[in-house]
């Protein structure tokens, strides 16, 4: 009847259980098993497993001191590790620190990349929230917008059962709130249907956004705005004004400030009854051929946009004429893809503000790649240094072998040692991660709590990196070490120079990567510097802009300009339709010499007679506007590019045709030097300027050039604005701040790359130093003999350095084409770019050579200068 208990749990029990408890416990468990076996063998086996697991308690586990082979040798390996650490401190320090820095860089970059990929994923339903995009195709130009037809949200919900909820939101230029005396300007708002609260996550702290309210708009705002406007009062139920838009709107809810890692962090959401908007607007909101709303669609669970896309044509046929269909081909973008996949989308100016600017997917990829390159350099270091160390340990290996150690055991020893080094490096890296998290966040302009640095997904990346590096970088040294010939044991200090080729090729790869990174960083810097210091064609200093947000301001434009110019602190003031660095779209019209032939798309600005002076632009030929409205109406000033595109020899006095809604014939009175009002990523367009009194486009901004007394000028602008338009608060911006936004993302990226590059060079130098240190030790005797025979210090330096110089050259030859290809690709994205000249490669090379030389010479010089008597005695 004796049924045998299952084998594995029993073995496990015998393995962990203390000797003195084993007999009793095993006996009891087996007896129970035998009793249960009679009733049900299956159950008995299961319960036996369970009992063994339950017995796996601390009190029962045998102590580690037991004389067990694995433990014993492990302990020996670790002891030897630390002894060697003490003996070869330089080697081990260099190794460990290099790896620690490599780990730290990799982990920081992983955090960056992780965060970039998780923007907007905080929304609970983020796997089924989509933003609706519309693609328009006209005259061969294809543009995709984040702004759709205004009634699309309603239509989608009605027609497609897959869609659970839709919402639209509309942005309408300047904004703000007023409550009694308190008021503030803030553009970070939207008008939206209340359904928005069903789709995105808002944490409501007071009130209820779904409640009924009187009028067109119910105000919800975040806690910061509520505090600003109401102080400690309870905002719910208070009536506030949206200056210039709505008077007496009720506050219905307050929500927690939206978190830093979502694209849209609205300060205010105005819940809108779109059916109650004033007459003119109501039509627009129902017009299928409009483009004004950001549309959200929440899909039901287990449905996907594909099925909707299949049925799209029927929908299009129902709502659009064939002609309009080309303008409104909609598609869906998952909310979590918004951040990385929107940088090439077109803008109309009607987009709500982005709190987190879109990022370029390629860049995130590149920086991740750099992280892996840096850790690769560090690992190659480790492999090289440990290999040569392993070769030195023939005495130890010999004795171990003679005592009966197998190859596998020797290899295992090296795996243990690598593990120790990696573990120490990892711990240092974690400390660095915590210590340096603030500078890192400042550098990348991110807000990530430290706890998020160690979330489970990132930790699993750590683990993967750790294990991969452990195994890969243990292999080579372990192989060397285990293959050492035991006969060498009798020859103390003998050295077999095995694996030189492998080691040298590793070094070439390392230096190749470093070179690529250095060359890349130099180019990045030159390009960004070029973009920032390029002559933009206008002077971007002490310029302030004042938005024209009301009829009153627009009508009194001349008076406002006059009053501003009267002040001593104001150097100049002018009015225009657009200003540099503003994200609003630039209107494009077509110009031609003959009414309808050879149409040339041209950017259009409205500008008064002071405009060129205010911006410090220069007329190349002809004259400026006169300032007399009737005389200026049909006159234009063009830029050089426009003259060029039309092929005019003598432009002044010529008449050209301008096609907007209708066609006008206008006379060129002046040519202005080219100026850049948009990012230098975009090519320069032909431009025409018309006076404020023109049939094409209204004015939208004042620009004020101050003498530097910013505070006084700000006061002045507000006073003047109040004088002519007491209703609307002044919305003032500094131009250079706005302009900077074009390049801010680029700048932050370049810092990140720069830091990674510097560290990669340091790690490479560490590796080189380690190798040189080793070579120096090995060559002590050789150098001694050479010196005795009369070699000079210089010739000895030469002997050692030649070897490394050749390696560096090979690295350069390999790195140049790679760097060239990548950089060329990147620069192609800029319309204005620096040349990829030879000297950049030269400089990169010289930098690497310089750093290596310093490293090498600092060690070798000591060797070359040493007294041969000492070195020849070196045994």
């Amino acid at each position: 009847m004796n049924a045998l208990p299952p084998k594995y749990p029993l073995r496990f029990l015998r393995w962990f259980c203390r000797e003195e408890f084993l007999e009793e416990m095993e006996g009891d468990l087996v007896e129970l098993f035998e009793m249960r076996y009679i009733n049900s063998p299956k159950k008995a086996q299961r319960l036996f497993w369970w009992d063994v697991l339950r017995s796996f308690r601390l009190v029962n586990i045998r102590s580690l001191k037991l004389n067990n082979w694995t433990m014993n040798s492990l302990r020996n390996y670790i002891k030897i590790y630390f002894r060697r650490f003490r003996k070869e401190t330089t080697h081990y320090l260099v190794n460990t620190l290099g790896l620690a820095m490599g780990f730290a860089v990799l982990f920081f970059i992983l955090i960056y990349s992780y965060d970039e990929h998780h923007i907007d994923s905080i929304h609970e339903k983020s796997d089924r929230i989509y933003r609706v995009l519309e693609t328009s195709e006209s005259e061969g130009e294809i543009n995709t917008y984040t702004i759709t037809a205004n009634p699309l949200a309603g239509g989608l919900k009605e027609e497609f059962p897959e869609i659970e909820e839709t919402a639209r939101m509309v942005y309408m230029g300047s904004g703000g709130l007023r409550y009694g005396e308190n008021e503030f300007q803030d553009r970070n708002y939207v008008f939206a249907g209340v359904q928005l609260f069903n789709i995105l996550d808002f944490e409501i702290t007071k009130g209820n956004p779904y409640q009924d309210f009187d009028g067109m708009v119910g105000v919800t705002l975040n806690e910061t705005c509520a505090k600003k406007l109401f102080g400690d009062e309870n905002p719910i139920g208070k009536l506030v004004d949206l200056p210039g838009k709505v008077d007496g709107a009720e506050v219905i809810a307050v929500y927690k400030d939206l978190p830093a890692n979502v694209t849209y962090q609205f300060n205010m959401v105005f819940v809108t009854h779109f059916d109650q908007v004033p007459m003119g607007y109501a039509q627009w909101f129902e017009d299928w051929n409009s483009r004004g709303a950001t549309t959200w669609a929440l899909f039901k669970e287990n449905t996907s946009p594909e099925s909707v896309m299949e049925k799209r044509q029927a929908f299009m046929d129902k709502y659009y004429t064939e002609e309009q269909q080309k303008e409104h081909a909609f598609s869906f973008q998952l909310i979590t893809d918004m951040h990385l996949e929107s940088s090439s989308l077109a803008q109309t100016g009607g987009e709500p503000l982005l709190s987190v600017q879109y990022a370029n997917k390629d860049f995130v990829l590149i920086i991740t790649l750099i992280g892996f390159l840096v850790i690769t350099i560090a690992s190659l270091n480790y492999i090289n240094l440990s290999s040569v160390q392993a070769l030195k340990r023939n005495l130890e290996a010999g004795i171990r072998k003679i005592n009966g150690a197998t190859m596998a055991q020797l290899r295992f020893q090296l795996f243990v040692e690598t593990f120790m080094t990696l573990l120490i490096a990892y711990i240092i890296a974690l400390v660095l991660l915590v210590l340096l998290h603030q500078p890192f966040l400042d550098l990348t302009q991110k807000q990530i709590p430290v706890a998020e640095f160690f979330n489970s997904e990132l930790l699993s990346f750590h683990l993967m990196a750790f294990v991969a590096i452990w195994i890969l970088s243990s292999l080579v040294p372990a192989l060397y070490y285990s293959k050492l010939n035991k006969t060498l044991v009798i020859k103390k200090n003998a050295f077999s120079g095995k694996g030189d080729v492998l080691r040298k090729s590793f070094m070439v790869v390392q230096y190749g990567i470093s070179l690529c990174l250095i060359i890349g960083s130099i180019m990045l810097y030159r390009q960004l510097n070029y973009v920032q210091s390029k002559d933009l064609g206008f002077v971007n200093e002490h310029l302030l802009t004042l938005d024209i947000n009301s009829r009153a301001a627009r009508d009194h434009a001349n008076n406002i300009i006059h009053d501003l110019q009267m002040d001593a602190n104001v150097m100049n003031a002018s009015v225009s339709s657009r200003v540099p660095g503003e994200w609003k779209y630039m209107p494009t019209f077509n110009i031609s010499l003959n009414k309808a032939e050879n149409l040339i798309p041209t950017k259009h600005f409205v500008a008064d007679q002071y405009w060129l002076d205010t911006y410090g632009m220069q007329l190349k030929a002809g004259k400026n506007f006169s300032g007399v409205p009737s005389a200026d109406t049909l006159k234009i000033v063009v830029n050089e590019k426009a003259v060029q595109s039309m092929g005019l020899e003598d432009p002044i006095g010529k008449s050209i045709w301008i096609t907007a809604d209708s066609t006008y014939k206008m006379q060129i009175i002046g040519v202005v030097k080219d100026f850049h009002f948009t990012s230098l990523r975009e090519p320069l367009m032909p431009m025409i300027l018309t006076s404020p009194n023109n049939p094409l486009f209204p004015i939208d901004y004042f620009t004020i050039k101050s003498n530097g007394n910013t505070a006084e000028v700000l006061d002045l602008i507000e006073t003047v604005q109040k004088r002519y338009d007491p209703e609307t608060p002044a919305e003032i911006n500094f131009l250079d701040e706005r302009w900077e936004r074009y390049y801010k993302a680029d700048l932050n990226r370049s810092y990140l790359i720069l830091v990674a590059t510097i560290i990669s060079i340091i790690i490479s130098a560490f590796g080189l130093f380690g190798l040189i240190n080793f070579t120096a030790e090995r060559k002590t005797k050789e150098v001694g003999i050479r010196k005795v025979l009369g070699a000079s210090t210089q010739s000895i330096l030469q002997v050692v350095l030649k070897e490394y110089a050749i390696l560096l050259l090979i690295a350069l030859i390999l790195a140049v084409p790679v760097a060239y290809l990548i950089l060329n690709n990147w620069l192609a994205g800029y319309a204005y770019r620096v040349d990829l000249s030879v000297w950049v490669f030269g400089l990169g090379f010289i930098l690497v050579v310089g750093i290596s030389l310093i490293t090498v010479i600092s060690r070798v010089y000591r060797l070359a200068k040493s007294n041969p008597v000492n070195s020849l005695r070196y045994e």
Binding site: E26, D51, V59
Partner: protein
């Protein structure tokens, strides 16, 4: 000597050791406890309790003879010591004395 503490489960095991005098080892204690308490008890809990009791000196143990049962493993029998008995008595006394202080309340209605 410092008064040794006695946990609730330990007390139950100690009682059972005393009750099963000379027949008490893991499996019998387990079976009897399960039938008295009317619930499942895990053997490892009893092993732990027994070890603690032995360390406190409340029980002593000896190995039985080898039999063909239990895969040839010896049983380990436990017997209560005089200190163990004293501890049980003390516990019992405390409980009874408090119990007797309960006023005569009727819970019947």
């Amino acid at each position: 000597m410092k008064e040794q503490s006695l946990g609730e489960f330990e007390e139950l095991v100690l009682l059972m050791v005393a009750a099963l005098h000379d027949e008490a080892y893991g499996v019998t204690i387990l079976e009897n406890l399960e039938s008295k308490l009317n619930k499942k008890v895990n053997i490892s809990a009893i092993h732990v309790a027994l070890k603690r009791l032995e360390n406190k000196g409340f029980v002593t143990s000896r190995f039985g003879g080898i039999t063909s049962d239990r895969g040839g493993r010896r049983k380990k029998f436990y017997v209560i010591t005089s200190i163990g008995k004293q501890a049980l008595d003390a516990h019992y006394q405390v409980r009874t004395s408090i119990y007797q202080q309960i006023p005569n309340i009727s819970f019947n209605s």
